[in-house]
Amino acid sequence: MSRLTEAEAVDQAASRKYKYGFKTNIEYEEFPRGLNEDIIREISKRKNEPEWMLEFRIKAFHHWLTMEEPDWPNVHYKKPDYDQIIYYSTPKEKPKKQSLDEVDPEILATYEKLGIPLHEQKMLQNVAVDAVFDSVSVATTFKKKLAEAGVIFCSISEAIQDHPELVKKYMGSVIPTNDNFFAALNSAVFSDGSFCFVPKGVKCPMELSTYFRINNQDSGQFERTLIIAEEGAQVSYLEGCTAPMFDTNQLHAAVVELVALDDADIKYSTVQNWYPGDENGVGGIYNFVTKRGICKGNNAKISWTQVETGSAITWKYPSVILKGDNSVGEFYSVALTNDYQQADTGTKMIHLGKNTRSTIISKGISAGRSQNSYRGLVKIGKKADGARNYSVCDSMLIGSECGAHTFPFIESSNNTASVEHEATTSKIGEDQIFYLQQRGLDEEEAISLIINGFCKEVFKELPMEFAVEATKLLSIKLEGSVG
């Protein structure tokens, strides 16, 4: 059974269940296809949003209408038909499976290789779990702990209801509604997402990654995330999962905004392993994401780490605006493309404040017939005295049908700033493989070891357990592509 049919099977099972009427029909009434002002009003109404939120959406929608889908990225795809998309649907409850035996063995094998604990496997596959590992109870414990610390962590819809003053103040402040085509679309129709507020002086008592993983849910097509760290606050957040994710929505246009005030520290990690299409490049998810953080205060720090292995097309540039003096921006990325995948990813570091520093480490691996591009901007403003940037982007090619591209833009208007950029492109040396084979490793193991060495600088930035899984993920992704 192929992976896609598994997803279909789940869908079929799901629709069967609804027929028996566990839920009322009204709740599953689907929206008509396409987008207009009425649809947006309806979305806002269903979510019971205040007036200002609706205005925000409508404004974004009008901007979106005037915008054109960008075609400058180095990716080629058939543009989605925006009139055929259903922009809102109420979350469906998936049928509970009785045991892991009902799950596609291929998926289980992947989990096994990734080393995902048994109870999490069940969670991910929506298998009923026993009381000890019940996600709800675990989540409740976590929630209590967070509340004690004063951290607000909830869905963005809840935040709009419960903390409107915070959402109103910060939403759209980093990525304005008219920022770009996909951000405008997201601002108009976003369904849900996460909201995190860490008050002054609070160090978030746990990695929000852990919480999120247990609480893994359908993120939806137009996800919106907003994270605010007040003076001296610290938070680490992980989005996504190493486990393969199958989603029937082809277009994903998420927006993530980070705000760091004085001395705050935000660490945002992403592991993305969405459906990349089959080996002939049919299907797969378009991942068009706008992510940006602003170091608003002095001595603030924002760090992006990403491991991108899935999606047919990845198109994202997590950026940092270094506005406060002495603020720090970091970007660590591994982007792996195989078969017909295309990735155009990188970062922007905008230095505005004095003595701002940024580091960019980007590792691209292309295999099969894929195309992998790094595109980055480092801009030193006129007042950014003493700003420093250091960028490295390395590419590795496996096979002669793929391509690696680098498009770094570097602009400096300050003569006390210094910017260094270096990039290399190479392949795995035959002598390296030979050496490892001599030591008793087979070819695939040898390649996996070399690839992991290549990505080490990025993996060490990931939370511990994900680093281990990411390592395995890469070798699974490259299985059979070498030889």
Partner: protein, 446 residues
């Protein structure tokens, strides 16, 4: 843009072209290319700031002015060009005044038999044959408006032909002089270099100007290298402070050939260089090094393309920039490695030195690799002189300003010192010294 808007727009270059009356060369390929390019000009418009490649190079200062074709009779005398002459090239000097070949100022008597340097209209038949084969195909005038403009209005292109197996002892100096003493003029010099198998030559293209008026130069140079040949190409751009200079230096490399190009630019109000090297056969090597000095309101823009079309080739690019005053420098270095062009070793380095508070640098190194067994790297830095180095020199009794001058001078020399023509190196050293304000003595010159 709709057709209507298109029609309403005045085509700036087309207007300039209509005013020209280019000299007939009698070479069919050149005349045909001229007609085709003139046609293209009525369709194309000037690139705008919305074009990615022209984003940092506003053409307004050019378009605001009207330029007339430079007249054939000009008062340029030997004394006007004396300062730019190169002693080694005394017997191989071609002087082009306002785009016209000047027999009085040129001297090409002592070239070895079978070699030729001079206008295409006087070239022997075997030389014209090669012009017919390759003219316009290397510089690719179908690609942009300025190269097409040059193709349409150039008079009598200069041809350099080096015969099989001949190693030229002395460099050939092609000096382009524009006389803007009386009016604002434009010129479109064109050079075509053909190196037969196993030949070895050095060609220096040099651009100077005279007069206070603004002028506009579009220059195109094409080099074709047969197997195992070697061309060392130097392009010096030292136009007057009112000039607008846009040039393309294109080359096509044969098997085992070696093209070394050095571009030194410190003149003109705004200038753009577009080196384009097609590494189109195995075991070839291309070097495209550049040195850019900008001060006051100068704008420099370099868009280079190194295209590796065949396996087993190497390339090297070092582009150094010193920006002072309100100077602005733009660099975009594209390196392509095509599919199946395995075992390529390509190296690119861009270094930018910002000396003043108001200088701006934009750089965009770009690698596009479609083959897996390659070694490609690029590096780019923007920075200033190291405090420690300046302090070290100060502690040895050198004043701060002298220390800065010396260090800047040393920084620039990395490009110049590779040029194997002593008197040219000397001239360039003085140029750099004058730019940095360093005082150098003859014994200091590398």
């Amino acid at each position: 843009m709709t057709v209507n808007e298109e029609n309403k727009k005045t085509h700036y270059l087309k207007e300039l072209q209509l005013a020209s009356s280019p000299v007939k060369t009698g070479v069919s390929v050149i005349e045909q290319a001229r007609l085709k390019a003139a046609d293209d000009l009525s369709i194309w418009d000037l690139p705008s700031l919305r074009d990615e490649d022209w984003k940092q190079f506003p053409l307004k200062p050019l378009v605001r002015k009207h330029f007339a074709p430079a007249p054939v009779n000009s008062g340029i005398a030997h004394s006007d060009i004396e300062h730019a002459l190169i002693t080694e090239a005394a017997s191989a000097r071609i002087v082009i005044v306002n785009g016209y070949f000047s027999p009085e100022l040129s001297n090409v008597d002592k070239l070895p038999t079978g070699c030729y340097a001079g206008p295409v209209s006087k070239a022997p038949i075997n030389v014209v044959d090669q012009v017919n084969n390759f003219y316009g195909k290397v510089a690719q005038y179908g690609r942009d408006a300025f190269t097409a403009f040059n193709t349409a209005v150039t008079h009598d292109p200069v041809i350099v032909f080096v015969k099989k197996g001949v190693a030229l002892e002395n460099p050939i100096h092609i000096l382009h002089v524009t006389d803007a003493s009386d009016a604002s003029v434009y010129t479109a010099p064109r050079v075509f270099i053909y190196a037969e198998r196993h030949s070895d030559s050095t060609v220096i293209e040099d651009f100077i100007g005279k007069g206070e008026h603004a002028y506009f130069t579009t220059s195109v140079s094409e080099s074709v290298l047969e197997d195992e040949s070697h061309i060392l190409h130097v392009k010096m751009q030292r136009e007057t402070a009112e000039a607008v200079h846009i040039s393309r230096v294109a080359s096509k490399l044969g098997r085992g050939s070696n093209f070394n190009s050095y571009m030194i630019s410190n003149g003109a109000k705004m200038f753009r260089n577009e080196p384009l090297s097609l590494v189109d056969a195995e075991n070839a090597h291309a070097t495209i090094d550049g040195l850019v000095l900008v001060d006051q309101d100068q704008i420099s823009d370099t868009h280079s393309t190194l295209d590796h079309l065949k396996p087993n080739c190497t390339s090297h690019q070092l582009h150094k920039v010193i920006a002072n005053g309100r100077g602005k420098s733009v660099f975009n270095g594209k390196i392509f490695v095509r599919k199946d062009s395995q075992l390529i070793d390509a190296f690119q380095e861009n270094r930018n030195l910002l000396l003043s508070k108001d200088a701006n640098v934009f750089t965009k190194p770009q690698l596009e690799i479609f083959a897996d067994d390659v070694k490609c790297s690029h590096g780019a830095t923007i920075g200033q002189l190291s405090d420690e180095e300046v302090f070290y020199m100060q502690s040895r009794g050198i004043t701060k300003s002298e220390a800065i001058q010396l260090l800047t001078y040393g920084y620039a020399l990395e490009v110049i010192e590779n040029i194997p023509v002593p008197s040219l190196r000397e001239q360039l050293s003085y140029n750099v010294a004058a730019f940095t304000g360093a005082s150098i003595e003859a014994k200091d010159i590398v």
